[in-house]
Symmetry: D2
Amino acid sequence: MIEKVFRDPVHNYIHVDHELIYNLINTREFQRLRRIKQLGTTSYTFHGGEHSRFSHCLGVYEIARRITQKFEDKYPDIWNATESLVTMTAALLHDVGHGAYSHTFERLFDTDHEEMTCRIITSPDTEINAALCQISPDFPDKVASVINHTYPNKQVVQLISSQIDVDRMDYLLRDSYFTGTNYGEFDLTRILRVIRPTENGIAFKESGMHAVEDYVLSRYQMYMQVYFHPASRSMEVLLQNLLHRAKILYQVHKDYFSVSSPRLVPFFEGQISLKDYLALDDGVMNTYFQSWSEGPDKILSDLAQRYVNRKVFKSITFNKSNEEGLDTLRSIVKNVGFDPQYYTAIHHNFDLPYDIYRPNAEKKRTQIEIIRKDGSMIELSRLSPIVHSLAGTVHGDSRFYFPKEMLSDTGIFSEHTQSFTSYIKNDQFIYGELHDH
Amino acid sequence: MIEKVFRDPVHNYIHVDHELIYNLINTREFQRLRRIKQLGTTSYTFHGGEHSRFSHCLGVYEIARRITQKFEDKYPDIWNATESLVTMTAALLHDVGHGAYSHTFERLFDTDHEEMTCRIITSPDTEINAALCQISPDFPDKVASVINHTYPNKQVVQLISSQIDVDRMDYLLRDSYFTGTNYGEFDLTRILRVIRPTENGIAFKESGMHAVEDYVLSRYQMYMQVYFHPASRSMEVLLQNLLHRAKILYQVHKDYFSVSSPRLVPFFEGQISLKDYLALDDGVMNTYFQSWSEGPDKILSDLAQRYVNRKVFKSITFNKSNEEGLDTLRSIVKNVGFDPQYYTAIHHNFDLPYDIYRPNAEKKRTQIEIIRKDGSMIELSRLSPIVHSLAGTVHGDSRFYFPKEMLSDTGIFSEHTQSFTSYIKNDQFIYGELHDH
Amino acid sequence: MIEKVFRDPVHNYIHVDHELIYNLINTREFQRLRRIKQLGTTSYTFHGGEHSRFSHCLGVYEIARRITQKFEDKYPDIWNATESLVTMTAALLHDVGHGAYSHTFERLFDTDHEEMTCRIITSPDTEINAALCQISPDFPDKVASVINHTYPNKQVVQLISSQIDVDRMDYLLRDSYFTGTNYGEFDLTRILRVIRPTENGIAFKESGMHAVEDYVLSRYQMYMQVYFHPASRSMEVLLQNLLHRAKILYQVHKDYFSVSSPRLVPFFEGQISLKDYLALDDGVMNTYFQSWSEGPDKILSDLAQRYVNRKVFKSITFNKSNEEGLDTLRSIVKNVGFDPQYYTAIHHNFDLPYDIYRPNAEKKRTQIEIIRKDGSMIELSRLSPIVHSLAGTVHGDSRFYFPKEMLSDTGIFSEHTQSFTSYIKNDQFIYGELHDH
Amino acid sequence: MIEKVFRDPVHNYIHVDHELIYNLINTREFQRLRRIKQLGTTSYTFHGGEHSRFSHCLGVYEIARRITQKFEDKYPDIWNATESLVTMTAALLHDVGHGAYSHTFERLFDTDHEEMTCRIITSPDTEINAALCQISPDFPDKVASVINHTYPNKQVVQLISSQIDVDRMDYLLRDSYFTGTNYGEFDLTRILRVIRPTENGIAFKESGMHAVEDYVLSRYQMYMQVYFHPASRSMEVLLQNLLHRAKILYQVHKDYFSVSSPRLVPFFEGQISLKDYLALDDGVMNTYFQSWSEGPDKILSDLAQRYVNRKVFKSITFNKSNEEGLDTLRSIVKNVGFDPQYYTAIHHNFDLPYDIYRPNAEKKRTQIEIIRKDGSMIELSRLSPIVHSLAGTVHGDSRFYFPKEMLSDTGIFSEHTQSFTSYIKNDQFIYGELHDH
């Protein structure tokens, strides 16, 4: 086919040379990704971060295309050229099962975006499946097996999903670009120069060790500064409480929800077909929230308004040792007139930026391997002191969320709110420590 | 107040030092702009261009803030410091009346986004009006008069709306950044250095003439290459035909639309309140289109599916001299089974990149003035040969849109489609010229 | 050979896959380019523009490499793969004959950098020639014939030297990047996508017409704003007068110059060997100027000091109609005590940004050809109105330079200097026009 | 005065509002910095890094200007506005005493650039001193005392010289930009937002902690990847051996050096005046090296040629435990015919990226302080785990340099060179370890 290109601010151009890729992009299931924001509630904190999963998936594909093309040209002995198409396809489709606000949804409605991805790929009802079958009848299953890590070729699996994979490479650069934060930038060109296939996976030439180190640092910094931002998590918490309220109300007000939010009914009922799942997107959800904000239930409409109009909850950090003290805060919140079940929340965000392979770990990680001049391999953290210091360490925090109104020191509830703020110092919960009520 | 900042990829940071600005940003009417894409259907061509009007409005405000702060510091004699707040406010709010797909809507439903902006500002029902009234009871009217160009101070009016205003400065840079096209880049820093107030408006010091020239060229290039892109216009045309079909069907199927798309009813009825207007956004519209795509009317559901899944019409250019020949094409389209009323369209896109002030013109333009070393003023095109060549000239094209199926040369309609394509050469309509049917 | 890369801020990486290219870079003649600034006196105006011809030549080579590789891959029928190496080599070496401040030198000492490039390539005394001969005995001559436009293959000649060639593509981007002016930026990636060989040269696909148009505009803007900057030309004029003075003094003070500036002697004598030519560079010249600044001749030492310490002359524009009036200014300069031969100068800078092929023109230009969908070719300015307006038009100005002291309005010469400034308005010479002495 | 600006690729514009700053830039001593490369031999590895100390000094000044202006505006109680000028001046002049290849020179000729800076500032013979005296007779001494850290105001001293000072902020960004490596980029805008004066120095608001952390990481990465690059150090080592040879030869060949390199004579003699010091720059040195490359001494001319034509030595790393084994290598080098005194070298490069204040340390460091919401201060590494892991740790390597010829495995010396390479594995010296000769 004649090469098609898509202008892209991150990779300059996305190049499409294979008919299959072009057909997949044009399916309804893939086009649907235009209607789902890549960063969910983060765009409420970083207003530039409004890009969609469509844009990210194209980027992931493009990186896969560049890598596999290079592998074909330079390492024909160790890379099987027939793996290129399955790799590019899996890269393009790896997120096709994401729905609106996936993480919140998965928790509340027990869905799983990775499983959905595989269903979309393998179900005979989808345009994606039809396009894949044109390659061969077993091609859908091959692609799905890359997504769920059972594909036999470890090179392909690691390119799609590992501690340094095409997915992460794109989202660090892309989220950085659109939010304008820059922390996620790393030297992609150099990494593409030094990446190479090995017998059992992928590895990086030693001359590019610092670029790989920089990538690990970028990942760490994006988590700390963008993905874990307290304000975005506040919107997530609001969303969670809002949907939780709706789910409970549904049991007694089915009619209201059938009219105001029909496409959510299967989720409330717990009987979700693939079609139901694909019918939801950010716009549909926001349309429903706007309806609810004018509905009869006080709590539902108040939470919906807060969400739609971005009236974020405030938060403080706490830790294991004073967690039990949060009940004290919850009862003050209650005294002020807010139901703590819907007006407070706990939110944990922790990340393990990098780890070596640990045979006994629950979730084993494929460690990043560096190839020395003599061909021997050495794990990244043994060469990089700064990666060594990050390896195996967990970073993040736990936060307690509550209405902004709790921080007011005037008004009829001032006695309560002043008591509330006496437990806070430098945005931390100080129960027990310095507090002597 | 303590300065607040918003991270912005175009201006690095948006700085908010005035309580009013902060309060306005937090109103429901302003937050609603997060749900309306700045570039409408252009994001279907340039997938990065998914940024919202919210992001653009913050940017326009930021440029206004930088300019007025500079005017206060450097030109206290000629710039009245009390104008700064009204300027920044008008900049922030200038687009608040935009709705989803404004341009298509305005044509079909006779709305006007500028008028809506003024209504939102002056109506006592909005949170924006309430915030503005806290400055003074007549502040909303003052801001509205800047928007509709009746404000007595020409400096302020020109900053907000002229051939080189804060609105255009932001959108060229922003649309350029997000689409990744770069054509809209110009040297904002230099322009901010050389801009200055004069007695009757604004002007630019001669040392920055080339930066102003570059801005004019960037504007021209963005129109030619991004805003007038045939594929985006194809989506606009689809949208137009789709809504047109719905409007006509509504007359006989009111119930269907009351259930499937309730918030559009006031528009179909032609009786729109401000609340009705504000209830629409991109997500709501797309939700309705998805409903329609499963509805009973063949044409409505087909057009909705084409829109939702981005099945664009194809197009060719034509000109005045062969326009009447398009009926020939329309009848072939009809022969293939498509109703030309809904499956073809004409779309004109023309722009006058720059013009001098012409006293007898229908739409008078405020020309760009350059200040020479001796204080005298000279109109831009007299200094810049390249701007001179653009001044007063109109650029763009007229296109005829039709279904992609018309370009197929096989199938049962091949006789018709081959006849159809015989009228096309290099994507131009060649009726009459080289064609001798 | 194993691919070598050079980190480059403009092209990210320069890739070297061919032994010859690597060997050429390592020759003494090529390494010498590190000691010659690309922009000559422009770095005295734009302090970031301190990059060398070495850096530019690598960039030109890299663009040639990308183009020829693409031609080999995509157009094997119309591009002869054996031309790739000669193209890349000519690209790398096209400027190797440049010396320190070439343009000034050429005027004063009757040298010619293009001829020098050919001598370096073909002379058996150079390391470059030795490296080239390893390909084949006639390879040096082939490369030289590309440089002097006699090579039979027009594709190669046009890539190296035409209105849109690899040389210009690199210098616009590079000079833009290093000076920080941005005006020279254009979409190289897109141009590399749409460029293709034709039977008689090169052409560009219509889909990239706007990128080519943007390139032409960038070129125009860089000339107007960077290359023709009056302050840089002031340094050039100083340099010219300084060397002119030295040349004249040499006739009577040969000993002085043999000691203070031995490597210039052959130039003063008018007998220059290739070795003499290659012995000069920016550092050598500046070392000599520093010596002269402490020398016995008042004019030579004063001019040298002005040059070394960047005490630029001031300037005004004039035109054909009032040029003869400059004698009036020269006599005032003389009255103040400056010898006009050394303390004034005329400097013309004019550029023809683009032109079509004109069979009767003295310097015929190869016009830029655009390929339409049906394979026909059309000259650029027929598609682009903005290029049309530039085509065949000449831009620039003529300036009269004089010591800054002439603008002082106090001091013992104030009568003269006030008379002098009465001829200036808005930095223009107004003799005859508004002036009525 | 009317504000002057200098276009700068890193800071966009350098703004000069104060007459003194403008006058200082125009002095001969400051203009001389145009002739000294900021990165010395690094430009032989990263060809883009050809920027001068002139460009860097302007950048350092600009950062100081932005900070002090902000301090004046926002912290008038704690920042004394009269300190702004001395801060900006010290920032501009902090490197004015740098000479060509300072580090190598200082070692060989016992000069000290910081001391030279103070001499240039305080000596009545310089134009800089004259400009400074126009502010007040004691102004030169004040500025010099900032440079040598004895100035009483710790805020000023820390801005100019500490672990996060205006010097480092500029060079990380600038060296990154020009070399094209990007590793040195950090969020300067954010740091300028959160920096503030305290009673005893400077500190950073907690909201910007991650930007400070990113700065520390950038510093670490630039050292590891750019400043410590083995190829640049190879050129440094060549330079050192070359000058060392010249210094020794001078004792017996004074005449030769008086003619070929007159301005070095005071250095060889060990009697250097300020004028002598200022007479050297990169161009002068390179001019001399080119002379020497044609001189009679075989070693001097060979080393000079290697330097001028960039024929770098190769290197391997070694460590304390096998350092004594290097003698074995030296004797093989000698056997091949190279004098190890001039053809080998040891080069150590180690950096302590960050450290807390240690009262007993030889070189005490001012630690970076973060201000919490309640006004208390906390040292950076206590908030940032990644900085904690770097604090107090030293990074870098020791390398042994030798001629590339030693790695050839053919030729008449192949027995020796094969023995030589048997001591090398993965570019490391393996004496004793795996080697069993």
